[in-house]
Amino acid sequence: MSDSHDHHESHGFMSYAFSTDHKVIGMQYMFTGMAMALIGGFFAYAFRMQLAFPGMDVPLYGIVSSAEYNSLVTNHGTIMIFWVAMPVLIAAFGNFLIPLMIGCDDMVFPRLNRLSYQIFLLSAIVLISSFFVEGGGFGGAWTSYPPLSAKAEYNLTPLGSSLWLLAVALEFVAFLLGGINFITTVMNARAPGMTMDDIPMVIWMIVLASILFMASVGPLIAGAVMLFFDQQLGTAFFDPDRGGDPVLWQHLFWFFGHPEVYVVLLPAMGITADVMCVFARKKLFAYRTVLYTAIGTGVLSFFVWAHHQFISGIDPRMANLFTVTTLLISIPIAEMCFVYIATLYGGSIRLTTPMLWALAFLGEFMIGGVTGIFLGASGSDIYLHDSYFVLAHFHYTFFPIAIIGVFAGITFWYPKMFGKMMNETMGKIHFWGTVIPFNCIFIPLFLLGIGGQHRRIYNYEHFPELAGKSMQDMRVFATVSLCIMLIFQFVFLYNFFASLLKGKEAGKNPWKSNTLEWTTESPPPHGNWKELPNCYRGPYEYSVEGREEDYWPQNIPDDEPAGGAA
């Protein structure tokens, strides 16, 4: 296979593992994230089988005990958020795209970048090892509320809970280091001529996400230290019997936890913007508005955290305040969706695989968005809190973000990453095979939630009146849909690897796109360009009147005649 971009490195494992090239690090993040996604998906399979067929000897897993169920649920959530969504959306795309899209040869701190991946890998190893220690993996939900998480006599996982906490804290450190690198790179290393308005939206969003993460995670790191001390050294920060307060952890956690939702949402929004503009051959509608709504969402997200705690014993008067801020956040998000829809107006839409993913992201995310209103309104949250409705709601946001958005990104930039085209037919089979079962999984769960069924209940047979026959049927339907969806992922894996070997050569710019990464070889050589490009215009100048081509790459000077540059 053609191999242009690794040529300066001596071949071998060590040079790969210790490379400081941003593209190599980006790929490492992506493959680690994909491997973790397989684990997280497998966990989902195991506990969904238990829910649909209680007590079943689950193929490939065995009997799911209630302790294992808790641990599977906890680690499914943790893995999918911290080891799949974050590394793939922010770190993998951030590392791969930032230098390429702003026209420079690498990140500003390549060795810091290397270090951040190594810490991340370590955190993944620590997390995986926590499943195999005495007592098993931590099973106190991804929110890890004390006192359950703080005392081994309550959670019965003396080692698992501490290893889990350690893994999460290490992961935060990795992303803090990575975030500093991303922000600094975009601020300082842009190509000559690239103004703030010329930065592609995906880069903006990754930077905003990094800033949000950086500004929100500090208290939780402090909280993690305190909780770790509680677990291992016998302090009493969260122990009410000795003067602590368990609700403090909830504040520290959700002060981070809510902005975290937008930390992963924004990059997915950015990917969608870029993919949609390319395949609708349209300029992004009101670029600045998108930017401002993203910033507005980010700022507001710091003032909504207690809507996760409406019924957790906080002062009921506080709930009113947080209802107002929470519902206000729907405005920038709604505006963002309007802008994306408006972008399609007057386009020339090509339904390629990446475009299908991007459109599906928007269509599905809107469902996730509106169902959040039920939970942000304090009155209805009394009933729906911690029910399957919550679960379905956030899967309708997280699944589009972490799976649909990621697939949009991977299928779109695959030609640039590997120099080959992916198979379109298989791509479309995979698309429909993922999106249709996805809806079949979570629509029944909305209904279960309306029916008063709570999450994290390992077997509903213990609630005879609540768990009628029709409820169980819905659970079975959801589980079967999940299995179908998981099977279709093998189509993607096959497509991914088969295309590496026998995919069509991609060339520099297969999608006729404007942004800078498409002006270099595919895959880009070390250093990205022989001569670093200059930037002359915004990223979304498609279908400009009076030009022969319907796109206008950012690196072509104004006076150069129209035509395929690249």
């Binding site: 690794d6 994909m34 491997a35 397989l38 684990i39 497998f42 000897d57 005495e134 007592g135």
Partner: protein, 216 residues
């Protein structure tokens, strides 16, 4: 590029192997009981030797009929439903998580077959000599060596955790255990526990029980 592929393959193999815990491949006569015991192991320990912090007594090698009897009581609500029985309330849902009589039987068989071990003493201040006198009442049912007797529904006491014996004696005396109208066997033990004159007598008799061992 080739290096990248190698890494890729390694990562995905690693990933898949992490996910799969082999489902009891070895030919085990009681594979079901062993697998179901995983949940019990959270508190009682993987060798069934108990964990005081989790309020879980040693159960390894306890008589199968007694285990069955107690699990049945927990499941039906004869035990673990008293307001002050904190440990029992933790056990009841666990017993309920066993779905069929076959599951119960398998777990019971697995636990009964576990090699018993005398737990280390955790109590101080009991006098085994005095305890021996008190034990004269007990041996009528529990046997001279505390080996238990199925005909009288009396469990073996040889491998019990001393703190557990103390709590249960206290529970019987306070009416926390053995007062449920359905709990017939517990109702026999309750008056027996009342024959001990005071708290110190409990300590003494337990200290004596801790010196007993199974006669061959």
């Amino acid at each position: 590029m080739t290096t990248r592929l190698v890494i890729l393959a390694m990562l995905s193999i690693a990933a898949s192997s992490f996910g799969f815990t082999p489902a009891n491949a070895e030919a085990d006569s009681n594979a079901n009981g062993k697998e179901l015991y995983q949940l019990c192991a959270q508190c009682h320990g993987k060798d069934g030797l108990g964990n005081q912090v989790a309020l879980a007594p040693a159960i390894a090698g306890q008589r199968d009929w007694y285990l069955l009897n107690q699990i049945t009581k927990f499941r039906s609500g004869q035990r673990g439903t008293h307001f002050y029985d904190i440990a029992g309330m933790r056990m009841r849902p666990m017993a309920l998580s066993l779905r069929t009589d076959q599951d119960v039987a398998d777990v019971v068989a697995y636990v009964a077959a576990m090699p018993p071990e005398k737990p280390a003493a955790t109590l101080e201040g009991g006098d085994p000599e005095k305890g021996k006198t008190h034990f004269q009442v007990c041996l009528a049912c529990h046997g001279p060596n505390g080996e238990g007797m199925q005909a009288l529904n009396a469990p073996t006491l040889n491998h019990s955790s001393d703190w557990y014996l103390l709590t249960q004696l206290q529970n019987f005396r306070a009416g926390i255990r053995g007062t449920n109208p359905e709990d017939v066997t517990g109702a026999i033990m309750r008056p027996m526990s009342m024959t001990l004159p005071d708290e110190q007598a409990l300590q003494d008799v337990i200290a004596y029980i801790m010196t007993l061992s199974e006669s061959k």
